[in-house]
C-alpha cells in the first residue's frame, strides 16, 4: 500500500539495523520453526536492502522527519534480568489472559494465560501450532514499506492470538510490550498475529509501554534519564467471516523513544473491526493502519486519540482499502497538541469500482493548545464507485474563548475551565476504549497532564 520513492540512501544505517537482528536459536525453538522463520526473513531481507529510511521528500513521510532517528545507533535489545516490575500496567480485566514481552522477548514469568479457555490460543510462537499459522503470519496484502519489511526480516518471535470458529471470548487479551530503556540505545521489533476465525469474537489490547530499568543506571547522562530506544512493531489481524475483533492500541512509550508501528487488518465478509488507538508517548511516533476488505458487508470503526506536548511528534497514516460492496467505515481521529509538538494525520479511503454502496465517513479534529503547536492533516478520498456515500471533514482550532468564559462565569478558574474542555474533547474517544480499567487509566493520564 505504501509506496516509497526514495533512492537508496542511508544504506549503512539499515544494514546495521539488519545486522542487529537476533539470531534464530535452533535449540530453543526447533529446526523446523527456524527453517520456517528463516524463509520468512529471507523473503523480506531483499526488500529492506532495496529500500532506504524515508525522508521528508517521500510523500508518505513529508511531515515526519526521521533525521533524529538516524543520529542514534541502535543495538539489539537483550533479554533483561531481573525482569521489570509491571504491576502498574496489569489490567484487572485481563489478569489471567496476558502476554508480556520485555524488549521484544517473551517473558512467561510475567505473563498469565490461566484464564484462556481451551481451544483458544494465546502465546508466543510455538512449534506445535505452526502449521496453522503458516497461512497467516507475514501474509497480509499490501506492499511492504521499509519498517515493516525490517520487522519481518528480523522476525524471531511473535505474540499470537487464535480464536477458533464461532467462539466468543469473554475475557480480553492483553498483549503488553514493555521496553526497559537502559544506558545504550536499543531496538526491539515486536510482532503480533491475531486470527479470529469465522463467527468468533474477541477483544485484544495491544499496549506499548516503558518500564524503569530494573537495575539502577550507573550514571545519568546529561539530564536524560534513559537512552533512546526504537520500537518497530508490526501487528497482523485476520478477521474471519462474521467475526468481530475489538482492538485497543495504547502507545505509551518513554519520552526518548522512537515508535514505528504498523497494524494491518484483513476483513472478511460481514466482519466487524473496531479499533481504538491512543498515542501518548514517544519522541517520534508513527502508526500505519491499513485495512483491507476481502469480502462484502464489512464494518470498520476506527477511533484515535493523540495527545502530545513538549517536542513530541505523532504521526498516523491510515488506509481503508475497500474492494467489495456494502462496506461501512467510520473514522474519528482526534489530536490534542500542546507546546511545540507536531501532529500529523493522513487518512485515505479507497473506494474502487467494485465497492458499490459503500458508506464511509471520516473526521479529523485537532485542538491546538499553544502558539508553537503544529498540525498537518490530510483526509483523502479516492472514489471510483458511483453509488456510494462518502464524506470527510477536518477541523483545526484552539479552545473556544466563549466556552472558557462560560465556565469561568460559573466559578471555574481559567485552568480548570481549559482542562475541562480538553477532557471533553478527548472523552469522545476515551469512552470508546473497551476495557473499563484502561479507560480510567487513559482518562487519568489525559487529565493529569494539563497542557498549558
Amino acid at each position: 500500500m505504501t509506496t516509497q520513492v526514495s533512492p537508496k540512501r542511508e544504506v549503512g544505517y539499515l544494514s546495521e539495523l539488519l545486522q542487529q537482528r537476533p539470531s534464530l536459536d535452533v535449540q530453543a525453538i526447533g529446526a523446523e520453526t527456524v527453517a520456517w522463520l528463516q524463509e520468512i526473513r529471507d523473503r523480506s531481507t531483499p526488500i529492506v536492502r532495496e529500500l532506504a529510511i524515508p525522508t521528508t521528500r517521500d510523500e508518505e513521510w513529508r511531515f515526519t522527519d526521521l533525521s533524529s532517528l538516524l543520529k542514534v545507533n541502535f543495538a539489539a535489545a537483550k533479554p533483561t534480568s531481573p525482569l521489570p516490575d509491571i504491576s502498574s500496567l496489569v489490567l484487572p480485566e485481563a489478569a489471567a489472559s496476558r502476554l508480556v514481552f520485555v524488549n521484544g522477548f517473551y517473558a512467561p514469568e510475567l505473563s498469565s494465560v490461566a484464564g484462556i479457555p481451551e481451544g483458544v490460543f494465546a502465546g508466543n510462537l510455538w512449534a506445535n501450532e505452526i502449521p496453522r499459522w503458516r497461512d497467516y503470519l507475514a501474509k497480509l496484502p499490501g506492499g511492504q514499506e521499509v519498517f515493516s519489511a525490517l520487522n519481518t526480516a528480523s522476525l524471531t518471535d511473535a505474540a499470537v492470538v487464535w480464536i477458533p470458529k464461532n467462539r466468543s471470548l469473554e475475557v480480553p487479551i492483553h498483549l503488553l510490550f514493555v521496553s526497559t530503556a537502559g544506558e545504550l540505545p536499543t531496538v526491539s521489533q515486536p510482532r503480533c498475529l491475531v486470527v479470529a476465525e469465522s463467527g468468533s469474537a474477541v477483544t485484544v489490547i495491544e499496549e506499548y509501554a516503558v518500564c524503569p530499568h530494573p537495575q539502577p543506571l550507573s550514571h545519568r547522562r546529561g539530564g536524560q534519564e534513559y537512552a533512546a530506544y526504537l520500537t518497530n512493531a508490526v501487528t497482523e489481524i485476520w478477521v474471519g467471516e462474521n467475526a468481530q475483533v475489538t482492538h485497543a492500541r495504547m502507545q505509551r512509550e518513554g519520552e526518548e523513544a522512537f515508535h514505528v508501528g504498523k497494524t494491518a487488518i484483513a476483513q472478511a465478509r460481514h466482519s466487524r473491526y473496531t479499533c481504538c488507538a491512543v498515542s501518548l508517548g514517544a519522541k517520534v511516533s508513527r502508526h500505519n493502519l491499513e485495512i483491507f476488505q476481502t469480502g462484502e458487508g464489512t464494518e470498520t470503526i476506527l477511533n484515535a486519540l493523540t495527545k502530545i506536548a513538549g517536542e513530541q511528534l505523532a504521526d498516523t497514516h491510515s488506509t481503508i482499502a475497500l474492494n467489495h460492496p456494502y462496506g461501512t467505515a467510520r473514522q474519528v481521529h482526534k489530536c490534542i497538541v500542546g507546546d511545540r509538538a507536531h501532529a500529523v494525520f493522513n487518512g485515505k479511503i479507497l473506494v474502487p469500482k467494485p465497492a458499490q454502496l459503500t458508506d464511509a465517513g471520516q473526521l479529523s479534529r485537532t485542538l491546538l493548545l499553544s502558539p508553537k503547536a503544529r498540525v498537518d492533516t490530510k483526509p483523502q478520498l479516492e472514489i471510483t464507485a458511483d453509488n456510494v456515500k462518502c464524506a470527510h471533514g477536518a477541523t483545526v482550532s484552539q479552545l473556544e474563548t466563549d466556552e472558557i468564559f462560560y465556565l469561568q462565569s460559573r466559578g471555574l478558574d481559567a485552568d480548570s475551565a481549559r482542562n475541562l474542555l480538553i477532557n471533553a474533547f478527548a472523552t469522545e474517544i476515551v469512552d470508546r476504549i473497551p476495557i473499563a480499567s484502561l479507560r480510567q487509566t487513559i482518562s487519568q493520564i489525559v487529565r493529569s497532564n494539563p497542557i498549558s
Binding site: 510523500e59 511531515f63 469500482k353 458499490q356 485537532t366 491546538l368 493548545l369 499553544s370 502558539p371 508553537k372 503547536a373 503544529r374 498540525v375 498537518d376 492533516t377 490530510k378 483526509p379 483523502q380 478520498l381 479516492e382 472514489i383 471510483t384 464507485a385 458511483d386 453509488n387 456510494v388 456515500k389 462518502c390 464524506a391 470527510h392 471533514g393 477536518a394 477541523t395 483545526v396 482550532s397 484552539q398
Partner: protein
Amino acid sequence: MSAAVKTLVNQPYKYGFVTTIETDTIPRGLNEDVIRLISSKKNEPEFMLEFRLRAYRHWLKMTEPTWPHVTYPAIDYQDIIYYSAPKQKAKKNSLDEVDPALLETFEKLGIPLSEQKRLTNVAVDAIFDSVSIATTFREKLAKEGVIFCSISEALHEYPELVQKYLGSVVPIADNYFAALNSAVFSDGSFVYIPKGVKCPMELSTYFRINSGDTGQFERTLIVAEEGSHVSYLEGCTAPMYDSNQLHAAVVELVALDNAEIKYSTVQNWYAGDENGKGGIYNFVTKRGLCQGVNSKISWTQVETGSAITWKYPSCVLVGDNSVGEFYSVALTNNYQQADTGTKMVHIGKNTRSTIISKGISAGHSKNSYRGLVKMSPKAEGARNYSQCDSMLIGDNAQANTFPYIQVQNHTAKLEHEASTSKIGEDQLFYFTQRGISQEDAVSMMISGFCKDVFNQLPMEFAVEADRLLSLKLEGSVG
C-alpha cells in the same frame, strides 16, 4: 440511468473548427536561439530577454512533476512550435486593419470584436495562438487611467510596471511549467488599475489556439493599486486535433491595500474525443498575492475542457485582514483528467479564505481536488472554510480529494468538509413524476449542485456556464 443523460453529456464540441490563415511560424524545438528569436520578434526590452534566458536555464535543471493524479505520455518539448502568429501588416491601429478572417473567427466563437456588436460592458483582449489580435474599449478605459492591453504592448509602453511585477508572484523557477512559460511566453493580457479606481467595466481575455502543433504560453499580469477594484474574465477554446497540445500559462495577480481582484475563468479547451484522443494539456500556474491590508482576491473557475487540467489558482494572503476565495466547478467526461484545486497560504493576521469546489466526473474521467490550506506561525486569527463536493456519473468515473491542511498557529480556525455522491434515483424519480424529463432533471440537479459557484460568476457568464455544463453532460447520465 437512462440514455437521455448519455446524450446530454456527449454534446459535440462546437468550437472545434480551424481558421485557415497565413501564419508566421518559427521552427519546432526549444533552445536559447528560439528564445532569442521570440524575444526579437516581439522587439522586447533587454531585461525581458534576460528574464527568459534565466527561466530557460532554470527549466533545464528541473524535472516534470509526477505527483498529480494524471497520466499522459511523455511530452517531447522539442516537437512543439513555440511561436505562431497570424501574418499581418505592421501594427493594427484600428480593428479595420485586423485580418477579416480573424474577426470572423472570433465572431463565430461568440466574441464579436467590431464596435457595433460588442457586448456593451465588457472589454475584450483577443489572443490568437501566440499574439494578441485586438483589445477593445481601450480608450474608454484609458480615461479612467486603467491600462488594459496585451503584455507585449505593455512591455513597450510601460516597461517599468511590467518589470516591477512580472515574476513577483510566480517566480521564474516556481515550477516546471511556470519556468517553461517564463522562458517562452508569447503574449497575454496586462491590466493595471490605478489607485482608488473601480474599473468601469468587466475586462476579459479570450484565448484561441488555432494552429495544430503550437503550444500556447500566455502570461497574464493584473496589478490593482490601493483601493482599486477589477473584475476579469478569461475564456478559452481550441480546434479539434488528434494530437495533444500543450498550454502552459502563468497568471499573476497583485492586490495592494484595500484592492480587490475578481478573476473568473470559463475554460473550454478542446477535451479530446470520446476515446480520449487529442485535446489540450492545460498546465497552468495561477497565483494571486494579497500584498496589502484588507485586500481581496477571488478566483472563480468553470473547468469543462482540456484533456488534462493541472491547475491550482492560489492566494498568498500576506496583508493583514486580506481575503482569498476560490470557487470552482470542474467537469470531466470521457477520458478527461483533472487535478485541480487551490492553495491558500495565510501569512498575515486575521486573513480569511473560503474554498468551494464542485467536481463532476462522468465517463472514464478522473477528477481530483488537490488543495492546500496553510496557516503560517504568524497568521494570528486566520480562518478558513473549505467544502469540496464530488458528483459521480457512471461507475467508471473517479473522484478523489487530496486536501492538505497545515496549521502552525493555534489561534487559526479551519474547517474542511467533503462529500461524494451520485444523482439520486429517488430525486430523478421525483422530477419525472412531476412531468420533467429525465434530461432536464439531471441538468437542473447539476446546476443546483454548482449554484454556489455560478453565483460568483458575472451575470452573462453564469448563464453561459450553466448552459455549457448541461451541453457537456448531455447523454452521460442514463
